[in-house]
Symmetry: C2
Subunit: 400 residues, 2 copies
């Protein structure tokens, strides 16, 4: 029996059409885009086409697309690239002085962010003044507080558009407009890694300056992503060298994966209207099915403003990781939280920030769907989940 | 007629066995190595096996292997990672003070380095004291000068093991031993991107602390490389986030390409003894064939200490780029210099550093072989090259 994969927020299977698109560049069309002979020119053209496609699909200019090795690199590039430029120093302009205390660039973010944002901001440390905007218990940013904090010195606002653990979806376009109306020079960045293919994502006509996307969350391969700029943003590169990607990201371009990313983004958009309603219905069916047959289940995240594919539930009295392993024996693959935190011992920072105590955080599972998830998958999962929760609870009861 | 590809120093074709090794991880075995369910565990095991294989093949510990998106990232990680840690600041420890003038960490490198090293050192700017060790006109580092400059404060020596433009090969192991005997705390780094599969490359038993390798130069895909550490080197990560690669390089791991890199490194080593002699003989045949039938040809680089696959020749009175395009019409694909500098207008910095004037630098072609280059390729190329050089010279003569 094929396992039922409900961990698509961690990673997705490469779509056959995406695989086919990149295949030539892993075999005969292997040129280096910087080479001047026909094999190089062919590779350069493929890369240009991929760039144009990503730009067109997301409403940006080709010059705004910087291919990276993934979402983490795109977030690092944006944060360290923008703030490194302000700060000078190791990442920035040689010899430039550090800002005087009290005159550091101001950054706004939230404690619900992905680790790549939190850790990038931590590295900048005392060289910027980072303020954390409050959120409510549904995982929604406090809009009023956010706007009240945007000031003259606010260099960057960086926020997760759709939360990878609980699915809460920020009103990115409205927030961007409001931020820009307070300070047009503030760079507005959203991490849209979980949003592409799930909600309409488009830069043109919005005040979003920069968007992070990732291939492997949308049926592309692991190891590719992009930072997509909606307008000119001065960036200091993280990777220095041959000057590829217009000097913003050096290193021989991964042509095959750039082509794959472009195809994955195209397919995500083409299928958005057709698939998202279905995905949301299946997510609702899964939620209703579990809640109607299992007691002590609580939803994490916003029941209204949410991504269609992520369902975070806490199961009273059980340890999420134990439940996960029992479910896997019956062929249902889920997560306890974000993939990158699963091998750590601390409970999820996102769940803590929305007010879950440790017990509730540790009793949480994340179910995540994709457009490849079928009704049958959900029904089969619903045959398994209530029974397994009951079994685990019985064991816990006997032990205590 | 299949073109004759003599640009293998720019990039190589993916070997079918390498492609097959990574294929499962681009299709059914698509788990995120951080996921706890069986698909994740399977991916994690594949990644671990790839890491062990790279370590074993290059004589290091698995914990010393950091997978990156390529050679450029590995060089950036080593240089900015080592020096960022000393300097503190944007890349390093928050709040740490900059060193007092005159007490900056000392770095030794050469002007023959790859752009990713030169530009990384340029970014560090006034925060370190970078000294450039002299080289001779054959592209060999001045050993005595290098050693005389290693001192108490020398934090890092970073050098290109085998030059990508002219093929000159430094005595890396001897240099490392001598550097360490002067200062055991100096980090000794070699960029071995062009060396794997061409000369024996092994860290264990040497004083080399860190080695950069790249997949696409050795019949692996573009978009993967590694920094391989021979002993513990304190590194500040460039990419912050979920803590993958033992916290030294965050971001969901590109499992498929890590597996591909491991296979490419294994094959490079397995075939080293069998293929390298052949490669060198074909390179010698190419050189002799050209020099015997074309006048005004000069070799760049060291005729003795050199990589077996790179041949840099200057053709008096012709412009390299013009010659390149004439050769491509007859199906011979070559380069004017390093791939990443080909689209720039300045002549090669390497050729300038070995004493070529602009005219000679601009009249240079790089021919580069791989273990897939056949005797027939070389003979066919030799049918074409002398004739095309003569044609181009005739046109130049008529015009002048």
């Amino acid at each position: 029996m094929q396992p039922i994969y409900l961990d698509n927020a961690a990673t997705t299977q490469v779509e056959p059409m995406v695989f086919e698109a990149m295949l030539p560049f892993l075999s005969d069309e292997f040129g280096n885009p910087s080479s001047l002979h026909p094999l190089g020119v062919q590779a350069k053209r493929a890369l240009d086409r991929a760039r144009e496609s990503v730009a067109r699909t997301l409403g940006a200019e080709p010059s705004g697309v910087i291919f990276t090795a993934g979402g983490t690199e795109a977030n690092n590039l944006l944060i360290k690239g923008v703030l490194g430029g302000v700060l000078g120093g190791v990442l920035g302009r040689a010899g430039q002085k550090r800002p005087d205390p009290g005159k550091e660039p101001h950054v706004l973010s939230s404690k619900l962010e992905h680790a790549s944002v939190l850790e990038s901001l931590a590295v900048l440390g005392q060289d910027c003044r980072v303020e954390w905007v409050a959120n409510d218990d549904l995982g929604m940013i406090d809009e009023k507080e956010l706007l009240s904090r945007v000031g003259e010195r606010t260099r960057l606002v960086t926020l997760l558009w759709g939360n990878n653990e609980i699915g809460s979806l920020q009103p990115a376009e409205r927030l961007a407009r409001a931020i820009k109306s307070k300070n047009p020079r503030t760079v507005v960045h959203f991490d849209g890694v979980q949003c592409v293919g799930k909600v309409p994502v488009r830069l043109r006509g919005t005040d979003i300056d920069a968007l992070t996307i990732s291939g492997h969350k949308i049926h592309g391969p692991k190891g590719v992503g992009a930072l997509v700029l909606g307008r000119r943003v001065e960036l200091n590169p993280l990777l220095s060298g041959g000057g590829q990607e217009s000097g913003r990201r050096s290193g021989t371009e991964n042509v095959a994966f750039a082509v794959a990313l472009a195809r994955a983004v195209e397919l995500a958009k083409e299928r958005l209207s057709e698939q998202v309603g279905l995905m949301a219905r299946l997510r609702d069916r899964l939620e209703a099915g579990i809640r109607s047959s299992v007691s002590g289940v609580r939803l994490n995240g916003d029941p209204k403003n949410r991504l269609p594919h992520i369902l975070s539930l806490s199961f009273e009295g059980v340890v999420g990781e134990v439940l996960l392993h029992h479910l896997e024996r019956d062929g249902v693959y889920v997560a306890t939280g974000s993939a990158c935190s699963e091998r750590k011992s601390e409970p999820s920072h996102v769940l803590r920030e929305i007010g879950c105590d440790d017990g509730r955080a540790r009793s949480t599972l994340r179910f995540s769907l994709s457009r490849r998830t079928s009704e049958e998958d959900v029904e089969r999962a619903l045959d398994v989940i209530p029974r397994v929760v009951e079994e685990v609870r019985l064991v816990v009861g006997e032990l205590s």
